[in-house]
């Protein structure tokens, strides 16, 4: 019942009062300013939103990928390498929380070094450490306990649980996510300020209209609603245009690939494409509050 009541208010607001609308003449430049500001700000908001959503997604992906694996590096004299590798494998196989552990093949190690040394790196003639890839079970393993056991069994083994990679990556992604949302807040704050300016200009231009309406018995809410409705609908229209343009540009950005890294991954994914729809609604809310506040403060100056 309460929902139906509120819905009827929203519908009344959208449909408006034709007679009240006619009483307040449109002021051309404020209408254009509102539409332009809303379009530009919504366009920018799409990118800020894309940045934030992408950063969040990237942070989750990096964390998930790195958190589920670890690497054991064995550096030992050539004569001891096999013995320490076997010892390390035995330790890993008996460590709770490790789902699997396997030696990286020569080809895999060569592929890892290829970006630095080229495809023909003579692996057998270089003192390359042996790498063991560890995949964690869901419960995870005790990294400190494992290190202590390895010191005793395979002193050349160094466990890298990716913490030192994960932490700065997660921090960077979190900062990007925060920057994205901060940008969105600032964009909407600027939008609110511009709409307030435009609304004040419209109210000043219609000072006589407001005075006459007060004189013949109009309530403040009646006068304010004519301005609030007009500015809110204009802002939603402008923001919808800006949102569509912004999404179109995001759509034509290069697709994510393994070479492009973060920059080519800027955008939305799956249901995330629905996020931009929030922008016109939020812009409408900002316009509603900004115009109502401007109208109320103007009307309070009149008796």
């Amino acid at each position: 019942m309460a929902q139906r009541f509120q819905l009827s208010h929203v519908m009344d607001f959208i449909i408006g009062d034709a007679q009240a609308e006619r009483a307040v003449p449109p002021t051309g430049f404020t209408a254009r300013l509102t539409l332009f500001a809303a379009t530009v700000m919504a366009f920018l908001a799409v990118f800020a939103l894309a940045l934030s959503v992408s950063a969040g997604r990237l942070s989750e992906r990096w964390s998930a990928e790195l958190a589920q694996s670890a690497t054991l590096r064995i550096s030992a004299p050539v004569g001891q390498m096999q013995a320490q590798t076997d010892a390390a494998m035995r330790v890993l196989e008996t460590t709770p929380g490790i789902a699997s552990a396997r030696l990286l093949t020569d080809d895999e190690q060569r592929a890892l070094l290829e970006p630095w040394f080229g495809p023909d790196v003579p692996l057998e003639s270089l003192p390359i450490p042996q790498l063991i890839e560890i995949v964690e079970a869901d419960i995870g393993f005790d990294a400190e306990g494992l290190r202590l056991r390895l010191v005793a069994e395979a002193p050349g083994a160094v466990l890298d649980d990716h913490t030192r990679w994960r932490k700065p990556l997660a921090a960077a992604a979190a900062r990007l996510w925060f920057l994205g949302w901060l940008s969105i807040v600032l964009i909407f704050a600027v939008m609110g300020a511009m709409i307030t300016l435009a609304a004040n200009a419209a109210l000043a231009a219609n000072a006589k209209v407001i005075s006459v309406m007060r004189l013949v018995g109009a309530l403040d809410s009646y006068i304010a609603s004519a301005f609030v409705r007009r500015f809110t609908l204009r802002t939603i229209t402008g923001a919808a245009i800006g949102m569509v343009l912004g999404v179109a540009v995001v759509l034509v950005l290069p697709a994510a690939d393994s070479q492009g890294g973060f920059l080519s991954d800027l955008g939305f994914a799956g249901a995330g494409w629905l996020w931009p729809l929030v922008i016109p609604i939020a812009a409408g809310l900002v316009a509603f509050l900004a115009t109502r506040s401007a109208a109320n403060s103007t009307l309070k100056e009149l008796r």
Binding site: Q19, V209, V212, M213, L215, R303
Partner: protein, 224 residues
Amino acid sequence: MIELEQVSYSYGEGELLSDISISLSAGSFHFLTGPSGAGKTTFLKLCYGELLPSAGYVRLFDRDVRSLTRDDVAEMRRRIGVVHQDCQFLDHLPIADNIALPLTVAGHSVRDDQSDLTELMSWVGLRSRAYALPPELSGGERQRAALARAVIMSPDVILADEPTGNLDWEMSQRLLQLLVELNKMGKTVVIATHDLALIRAAKSQVQARVLRIANRHLTVGADL
């Protein structure tokens, strides 16, 4: 209906009205006279709550104006029709819409009240000018339209500020007749004017009191 008790009003440091007490009862007819700048318009503004007294009390329909909220003031103005000397129209709206404005802002559908509006426009002789914009009307037509707007909500009180200021004698007489008709319907009428000929002309038509503002004070003259 409207009571002023020991009312004073000051603009800045200068006192314009001082110690004014008067009661405008239901169905009474008053002329408010005095030299230009004496405070006639200020007196009327006090009577419809646009100004608050610097001292004393103004009571509209038994309520102290200081206790009224902004919405109360708006509601009160639907019971008090005001005719301004400069008419105060919305120039972008046809005159019929201007006349219907009090109905519109009160949430009435003009379509539902169309026959009343048409009848009212005929009464003030503006039926054929319904779609004209205010700047296209003559001074007399504008004053009659302002009167029509003032009475469309069937208010209890009509306050007219120099309603015949820009009119010729014949048009002034016609406007006076309209106000007298309204008074005979039981409305309280106050006309601020410095047109003594108009006051003399009213003598044969209505029992009116003359109020005079001069030197900050209000004096109540004899009944006409």
